[in-house]
């Protein structure tokens, strides 16, 4: 081994984020807007929060009484800021699941551009180990 790096995940790759969201909530549940739109509260009234990528609260698990889930791109930080309702009971679990999916998709997508393919994938509880080789 010549180096190892530990990375704290942030949503930076738009395509991987969209793929992970569509896988979790369904193809038609993820709205993509050119400009940020208002996120609604549980009564479908607009809030002050805005985002380009939106999952309306009714599409979320146990989401009837919470706000929409949104991802707003921050150009200065070059990443998506997550707007998630902290009163949503499942928010922690759902975001962790989304991050795991995002990380796996980003790893495979990015390394495939460099000629790498997944040669081994092992699930260890909630952890996933990927081995990628060229060719």
């Amino acid at each position: 081994m010549s180096h190892y790096t530990r990375v704290e995940v942030e949503f930076r790759d738009r395509e991987s984020l969209l793929e992970a969201l569509r896988e979790m909530y369904g193809e038609g549940s993820v709205q993509v807007h050119n400009e940020p739109v208002a996120l609604n509260n549980w009564q479908d009234m607009p809030t002050a929060l805005r985002a380009e990528i939106v999952v309306r609260h009714k599409e979320l698990q146990d989401g009837s009484y919470m706000n929409d889930l949104g991802f707003q791109f921050d150009k200065s930080e070059d990443k998506f800021i997550v707007h998630a309702d902290s009163s949503w009971a499942a928010v922690g679990d759902q975001l962790r699941r989304l991050k795991r999916s995002y990380s796996e998709k980003t790893t495979i997508r990015t390394m495939s551009r460099k000629g790498f393919k997944v040669s081994k994938r092992v699930e260890e509880g909630q952890k996933v180990r990927l081995v990628l080789r060229r060719g």
């Binding site: 081994m1 010549s2 180096h3 190892y4 790096t5 530990r6 990375v7 704290e8 995940v9 942030e10 930076r12 790759d13 991987s16 990443k79 962790r96 989304l98 991050k99 795991r100 999916s101 995002y102 990380s103 796996e104 980003t106 790893t107 990015t110 390394m111 551009r113 460099k114 790498f116 509880g125 909630q126 952890k127 996933v128 180990r129 990927l130 081995v131 990628l132 080789r133 060229r134």
Partner: protein, 64 residues
Amino acid sequence: MLGRVEAVIDENGDVKIEVHGVSGPKCMEMTKELEDLLGKVAQRTKKPEFSQSQKVGQKAKVKA
């Protein structure tokens, strides 16, 4: 340039990336884009092998 990349994604989605079989700057270049897209680098450690082949290469040049 061959090499093997291992990525361990933990329960929070954070990732530990290990590169095997590649040394020197090429090793860092191999995963630079991936690190940028995954998020914020919290730790980066170079292993002894990182500079091993460079030193071997330098010695070989001196001998020649």
